[in-house]
């Protein structure tokens, strides 16, 4: 019906519509389609004095809040962990644990170093102690050092029948050695391994020093053993008494002091084996 009646009209309508669409679809306007703001019919901004006062107050309040927040944020200690985010905390933890590991490693290094030094110091101290001990022992043995300790003092007067001979005195020394004497002195002569006693005219001589009666033998060792060694039946003591008629007196003081020393011997031929 329509087709029949108004074919021309329809065509022109379509044509118009197309033109209108084209106008609307134009893109070179330079701006997005603008939705027009509805005009306010009261004229809001320049309203009554009360409205202006309220907005001014509001502005002041907002700016005060801004300044307030700013001041708070200024004073806020930023290092509080509560305000940190999760990955910040994770990073912090990993950094701290790395640092802890480094420090632990350093600590163990230093500890082992300290232990090594301690061990070295101990070893050195031990060596020094042994050296001192050796020095004392060899000093006592060689007669380089004075000695004191428990022991016996034997005094032998000149024989009534015949003078005491060197062999008997040396036998006494040997007996005392057998009894475990440690340090010995004969009159003013320190008795060492190389000590000898010989007869000379009008007396005795030990290590080149003339001995005058009464002979005094100071010996450091077990007093009981030493006393027994002298006083044993048929021993040196009875021999001195019987054969030479001398007076043998053995006393056991608490401390026997032997001040007699002798210069260390210098060895010409003997060397220590390394």
């Amino acid at each position: 019906m329509i087709f029949n009646q108004e074919p021309h009209d329809l065509l022109s309508t379509m044509h118009k519509q197309h033109a209108h669409d084209k106008e609307n679809d134009r893109m070179e306007t330079g701006s997005f389609p603008v939705v027009r703001r509805r005009r306010r019919d009261g004229g809001g901004s320049d309203g009554s004095a009360r409205t202006r006062f309220v907005t001014g107050l509001l502005i002041t309040l907002l700016c005060a809040m801004l300044g307030f927040g700013y001041a708070i944020q200024l004073n806020n200690p930023t290092s509080s962990y509560e305000a940190m985010s999760e990955d910040e905390l994770t990073r912090l933890i990993s950094e701290t644990s790395t640092q802890v590991q480094n420090l632990e490693q350093r600590k163990s290094e230093l500890t082992s170093q300290l232990n090594a030094l301690k061990a070295a110091a101990d070893k050195q101290q031990e060596a020094a102690r042994i050296a001192k001990e050796n020095e004392e022992t060899s000093g006592l043995l060689s007669g380089r050092l004075p000695a004191r300790g428990q022991g016996v003092v034997i005094s032998i007067s000149q024989g009534q029948k015949t003078p005491v001979d060197a062999a008997t005195l040396f036998q006494l020394i040997e007996e005392l050695r057998n009894a475990g004497v440690e340090v010995m002195a004969l009159n003013s002569v320190r008795v060492v391994t190389s000590t000898y006693v010989v007869d000379i005219k009008g007396g005795l001589q030990a290590d080149g020093v003339a001995l005058k009666p009464p002979y005094t033998v100071k010996a450091i060792g077990d007093p009981q053993n030493l006393q027994n060694a002298v006083n044993i039946a048929g021993g040196v003591g009875s021999r001195l008494k019987v054969k030479f008629g001398s007076n043998v007196r053995v006393s056991t003081p608490d401390t026997v002091i032997i001040n007699e020393i002798r210069a260390p011997r210098t060895y010409t031929y003997a060397k220590t084996v390394e």
Binding site: G44, S45, R52, T55, G56, L57, L58, I59, T60, L61, L62, C63, A64, M65, L66, G67, F68, G69, Y70, A71, I72, Q73, L74, N75, N76, E82, A83, S85, D87, E88
Partner: protein, 110 residues
């Protein structure tokens, strides 16, 4: 005038009272401050352009702060809080710079 007065009052009160802000609010406070600063500078710019409006300023201030806070809150809930915070700060910083530059243009032209 009111804005400057308010700023001074706020800073003085904040310095002297020193309140404990709740922990929930703590991560959002810097963002809020920056957003408010942006709004303030925008207001200053419009003041120089002679198109300042109280109402617009109040609304833009509040909406700026709320938007920034909500954006960061959303980011925190989605697990991209720090990135979104950075994004907000960057955008606000750019706006602040452009505002400042236009203000400077007004000052040096006259």
């Amino acid at each position: 005038m009111a804005a400057v007065l308010g700023l001074i009052i706020g800073v003085v009160v904040g310095i002297f009272i020193r309140p404990d802000i709740p922990i929930v609010l703590q991560p959002y406070l810097p963002i809020m401050v920056v957003a408010a600063l942006d709004a303030l500078l925008g207001a200053a710019r419009s003041f120089f352009e002679r198109s300042f409006s109280d109402r617009v300023f109040v609304i833009s201030f509040i909406s700026n702060v709320l938007t920034a806070t909500l954006l960061v809150l959303l980011g925190n809930q989605l697990g991209v809080g720090s990135q979104l915070q950075t994004a907000v700060i960057v955008v606000l910083g750019i706006r602040i710079f452009s505002n400042v530059s236009s203000i400077r243009r007004f000052i040096f032209q006259s």
